[in-house]
Structure formats: C-alpha cells, structure tokens
C-alpha cells in the first residue's frame, strides 16, 4: 500500500503529457454515449434493432478485417487486393447460389438447405483462398487490385447483381417492434464457428505455431526449420478463405453485389483492423464490431445522426485520427499476431 501511494504522484505527473489527447478522446466518447443515450430514450425499439444490425455488420467486417490483419501480422504489408478478393468471393457466391441445385431446393426443409449453404460456403472459401495465394505468388504489390476489380466487372457486368434468395423467409424473432431476419442471423451463425476454427488453427495447430513464429521473427523462424514461404502462402490461404466466407455472407445479407464494392468494404474493414490494432486478431474483431455499430447507428438513428451520406467520411476520419494519435490501435501491440 505504501509503495502504491508513493507511486501515485509520479504516475500523475507522467500522465500529464498525453492528457490533451486523452481528454479530447474521452470527451468525444462521452459525447457519443450521450447521443446514443438520448436516441435510446427517444426510440428504444429502433435502437435495439439498429444495434443488432450493427452487430451483424460488424461480424461481417470482422471476417474481412481478419484477412488484413493476418497478412499484415506476418508480412507487415497491407494487402490492398484483399477487398477485391472479397468482392470476387461474393460474385462466386452469387454464381453458386444461383445454380439450379439451389434453385430446386429453394424454401425446402432445413436439413437440405443448410448442407447446401455449407457447400456454397466451402466453395467460396476455397475459391478465394486459392485466388489470394495466386495473387500473392504472381505479384505481391499494390495497385493490382484494379485487375481483380476488372475481372469482377467482366464477370458480372457493371450493374448490381441480385442474389437468389435461398434463405427461409420471415423473421427469427419479432418482439416489441424489434425484428431479426434470417439474412442477418446467418451472418452470426457462420461467423462464430469460423472464428472459433481460426482461433483453434492459430493457437493449437503446428501450422498456426509456424505462423506465429514467422510473424514474430521471420529469420529466426527460418533458422528453426520453418518453411517461411509456405507459411506465408498458408496465411494468404486462410485470409482468402475468410474473405470468401465474408463474400458469401455479404451476398446473402445485402442481396446484391457489384464489381466495385470490394474497394469500399475493404477500406472499411481495413479501418477496423487498424482500429483494433493491426496484426492483432481479437483487435480486428473488436474494431470491426465497433465500426459496424458506428455505421449502423450513423445510418439508422433518427435523432441528429449525420446519415449514410457521411458514413465513409466518418470511418475515414476515425482511421486518420487513430493512425495519427494511437497508431497501435485499441488493443495495442500485445504480440504481433495476437491470438
């Protein structure tokens, strides 16, 4: 106790320097909380509904953000093509879901439908995983995302493509004016197991161990007999697979896809990754959930919300603020690859 007490003034003086940033940041957060509180008071059912939308959206972003963070963690490189890999994944999803196999079973019983959805998920994940590895192999450089974007353009044309609706119609639940549809629930149904598998993969398997080692120190990992190149490819494979899962979910959730969606969503997901602390896996999920909530609240709430015109500006402003004032993100640099 004595030492604690004697440390107190020291800690106080130390805290003086970054106080402006801290105070401004806290004020901003408090202001936002007050704004949210007033909105909750005015329209409680809307608020809960929007919260659920935001959470779902956040889970979707988390899948994409994890791809950025995984690759950054291991290579310290921002994979600018990731958003477009995701876009191609959603195009693949539209193609797969639009095939006759799915058409026949539309609205069928659950034990036919869900395995089909899982098959579609696996196809998309495999497609995007291999695509991402190929991208990494052919050119690990920026700006080539435009090639992928054009592939998407050539594939599905410049307009929005509707997804065939395969999910059960109607709501999962609807109480007190709060509704939750299958399109949203499936995002959570898929995301949670995928994240669990990812954690298991990174934490428990040999390959995951190799990934963590490579992320910590490439040279040392190579000296310990880890095949660094294969590990890097494996990381890209996982990142691509996550993007593929996100692609399918997005196609089902949003109901339509377009060739230029990848860039926008990719940037939002990248912001999420930076927000949580790039290279940090739980951070990416946390950041993505927060960004999803911010976006949903901004677009959905009725009392003094800037509206969807400004979503992008808000997200980017947030990105700039974080990069300038807290480049290590919310969860900081615990270990390069988190876990």
């Amino acid at each position: 106790m004595v030492t604690e007490a004697s440390r107190q003034p020291l800690a106080a003086t130390r805290r003086l320097r970054p106080s402006f940033t801290a105070v401004a940041g806290t004020a901003l957060v408090l202001l936002m909380l007050v704004w949210l509180g007033i909105n909750f008071y005015k329209t409680p059912s809307d608020f809960v509904q929007i919260f659920l939308i935001g959470f779902t959206l956040g889970a979707l972003y988390a899948l994409i953000a994890l791809g950025y963070t995984l690759v950054y963690g291991i290579l310290e490189l921002i994979n600018f093509a990731h958003g477009d890999v995701f876009m191609l994944g959603s195009m693949m999803a539209v193609t797969v879901v639009g095939t006759t196999l799915f058409d026949l079973h539309q609205g069928r019983v659950w034990y036919v439908l869900w395995p089909l959805v899982i098959v579609a998920l696996l196809i998309c994940m495999a497609f995007c995983g291999l695509l991402n590895v190929t991208v990494e192999l052919i050119a690990y450089r920026r700006l080539r995302s435009f090639i992928l974007q054009n592939v998407g353009l050539a594939w599905k044309g410049p307009n929005y493509v509707q997804t065939a609706s395969v999910l059960p119609k109607g709501n999962v639940f609807s109480t007190h004016g709060v509704t939750y549809t299958w399109e949203k629930l499936i995002v959570l149904i898929v995301t949670v197991p995928v994240l669990l598998v990812l954690v298991w993969l990174v934490q428990r398997t040999r390959q995951g161990k190799a990934m963590r080692a490579t992320a910590q120190d490439t040279d040392a990992a190579a000296m310990m007999g880890i095949n660094v190149n294969r590990t890097i490819s494996f990381t890209f494979l996982i990142a691509g697979a996550l993007a593929g899962a996100a692609g399918l979910l997005y196609a089902l959730y949003a109901g339509s896809v377009r060739f230029d969606q990848g860039f926008q969503l990719g940037l939002i997901a990248f912001t999420a990754a930076v927000f949580g602390g790039i290279g940090n896996l739980p951070g990416a999920v946390l950041g993505a959930l927060l960004i999803g909530l911010i976006q949903a609240f901004n677009e959905g709430l009725s009392w003094h919300a800037p509206g969807s015109d400004w979503t992008q500006s808000i997200v980017f402003a947030l990105l700039i603020l974080i990069l300038v004032f807290r480049p290590e993100g919310l969860l900081g640099e615990r270990t390069p690859e988190g876990g």
Partner: protein, 497 residues
Amino acid sequence: MARARADIDTAALQNRSLRMGIGAVLLLLAVAAEHGFGSLDLSTFYFLAVMAIIYVPPWESVPVVGRFARAGIAVIIAFTYPFFWDKLFTVPVFGAFPSVSTGVVMLVFIMMAVGLNIVVGYAGLLDLGYVAFYAIGAYVAAWFASVQFPHANVHFGAVGVGQNVPGFHISIWLLLIAAGFLTAGVGVIIGLPTLRLRGDYLAIVTLGFGEILPQIARNSDNFFGTGFNLTNGPNGITPIDSPGFFGVNYLTGSGAFWTSERLFYWTGLFLLLFTIFCSVRLRDSRLGRAWIAIREDETAAAAMGVPLMRTKTWAYASGAFFGGIAGAYYASFKSATFPGDFFFNISVFILCMVILGGMGNIWGVIFGGAFLAYLDQEGLADSGSWINSHFSEVGFNVLVGVLFVGGVVATLVYARDMYWRAGLAAVSGLLALLFFVVTPIPLPIDVPKYEFGIFGVILLVVMLFRPEGLIPSTRRAAEFHEGVADEPLYDVQHEGA
C-alpha cells in the same frame, strides 16, 4: 561528367544509332503492314527524322547549347504541334495522333504527374490522395469564376462575362495562383499531423483524405445541414469562366489562327514548362537534395541534420501547389467541376504515370503522364475499334488466352525456385484459360471499360521486370538494384534474403 566535353562517346553513339534504326524499321514495317506500302507518306519519314535528331547525336558533348538541345527541340515540336497534328501519319493499332484538345488534357495530367513526382519521386512519400489537391484547385476556380454564389456580384478581370452576371468572376490567371497557394496551404495542414507516419501508414492516411474531400464536395450542396449551397452537390458547378487576355476569350478564340483549343493548349504547355522548370530547379536545390536524402534513408538524413518534418512538409506543399494549379486550369478548360471527377481512381491514375515513367526522373514522368493520359483520352477507344475491326471473336479470345498463358509461363520462369507455388500458378492459369473458353469475351469489346485493368496489367509487368520504371533516374535505379532503399514503395516479397 568528369569526361572532357569534346570527347564523343562513340560506343553510346553507335548504340543509339542502332536502336533508332531498329525502331525506325519496326515503325515503317508496322505502318506498311497496316495500310500497305503506299501509305508511307512523307510525315512518317519526317517523324523519324525528328526523332533521330533528338535521340541519336551526342548532344551532351556539344558545348554550351548541348545541355538544352534535346529539351529545346522537344519544346519547339510541342509548341508547333497544333499546326501539323492532323497531317501526321496513322499509327498502327492506336490510330491518329492525339488531337489538340486531347493534348490539353494530357498537358494537365502531365503537370499533375510532375507535381506528384515531387512528393513520391523525390521525397519518397507515397501519396494516395493526390486527387484531393486537384479537387481543391478545381473548386477554387469553380467558386470564384462562376455564378455559384448568386448573392455576390464581384467582377475582377474576368474576360467575356457581362457586368450584370451575378456571382464571383475573378480573372482565371489570379485564380490559378490563388489555387496553387491555397492548395499548398491545405497540403501543409494535412501534412503536419500525418507526415510523422511512415510508409504504408502515410499512404493510408492520404488515401483517407483523398476519400473524405470528394465526399464533402458531394454532400455540401447543403453544407453540414446549414442549407448553404457550397458545391452544388453531385450536379457540380458549371459553367466556369474561361481565361482570356487583351479581350480575347479562350472559349470563343479569335479568328482562324487563335482558336479556342490552341489557346488552351499553348497556355497549358506554358504552365507545364513552368512546372518542369520549378521541379528541376527544386530538385537541384538544397531542399531537393534533402528530399532525396530522406527518400534514401530517413534515419541517416535526420542524423546528418536534415529537419525531417519541415523538409517533408515542403515536399507536400510543393507537390500540392502544382496539383492545385492543374486542377484550376482543368476546371476552367472543361468549364465544369463535378465531385465524380475526384475519385480514388484518379489518384491511382496519376500515381501510375509517375511509377510507369520512372519515379524521380522528370523526363520519365512526362513520358508516363503523356502516354497514360493519351490512352485514357483516345488511345484505348482507338485501339478498341482496331481490335473490333481486325479480330473475330474466337481469334481474339485465343489471343487473350495465349497472352494469359504466356504471362503464367513468364511467372513460372520468375518463380522457378518455388515449384509448388509455380504449380499452383499453372493450375490457376489453366483454370483462367478455361474461363475464357467457357465465357469468352464478347466482341465488339468496349476497351475503355477495362481501362484500369489494362493499366493494372501494364503496371504489373513494369513492376515485375523493371521496377524502377521505363525511364528511371540513374540514382533511383541504383537504389532499386542495390537495395539501398530500406522501405521500397513496391516490396518485392520474393525469397526472403
């Protein structure tokens, strides 16, 4: 440089003559193959003769005038271009030479590329939001030379605008200068908090600014809910006054000689020459040497006493200055400004020019800018119609497929020490080939639609085989090949050292 002036490097002379000869034969054969030997008119030979005069003689060993000879001839050709462009021969695939109005657009984009080159090429700061400066310049011209603010009635030096027309009508010449300085100021404001960041992070922050500013422009027909119409939203601001002097309005021109296009072209050329002059002088100044030192090794530069923040901010401000002037001039030329003109694509487009030509080398950047801007304006459409008239659908898809497989084979060679990954590339290449067979690209093909895909492929090839750009500066090339740069803009992640 230490070599005696009069000493002629015969080996280099022979080398250049040989290359010029091969180039001339190839061009003549291509023209003849396109239209038959009867089509080889005099202009083809004039063109080759001028190229040879610029390229072959050992100008660098001529005393006094030698330094300026090549640039001088090029400038003379550029100034007289409006008189002879329509009499030139037809280039195979690409068609006719660019028209004068295309030339104006090319000049504006070259100017922006030269401006961006200061930031990216000299100081090595990757800027993905250069379009923001272009947008600010354009909106300065739009605000102060149009009827956007009808309550004001301020006239100052504008040509061809009646005294009763509402809004601000300031002379475009003044606005060019104002746009330059305002944009430089914004560059400093953006730069001060962000330039502490390095590499990727800086790129992302600039990208963020480049995305936010157009959105503000798009949403500011109701400026932050105040009801004030700042930018007229997605409808943009149009028309914008044209420049003019001595009572000659650029919009209408004066007589058969001073046509509107020529006036804009010559003024644009003058602005570009000014930009190039400033850029060259800046590069050789104390500040420019500090930029290059920072590019090569930031830590070492700081240790040698280069003030990092101030130097970087100057680079940002100088680059922004020319971006602003170019934006204002372009807005005045097009007589319109739309928020849709300022997307991320444009930033990348300008960055492509810098990278393709050769970062840091002004002649390379000019070439890259001219080539890509030409492709964007005319080249892609022309080559598209050439493809449509020369290929059957099957033939074209086979060609694309063969090119694709060729690319995969090149990658196999490139990645020969990584067998399993190369195998993966082969498999995906074959899958992609199958893709072309199953869903062939339909003809007629709309080539400009795939513009950025084509740019992407061009860049990819350049980055793989000549990462320093087509016409690099010697110093920059050395950095790429010796691995001096500790943070190369384009990481060759390939078999960790």
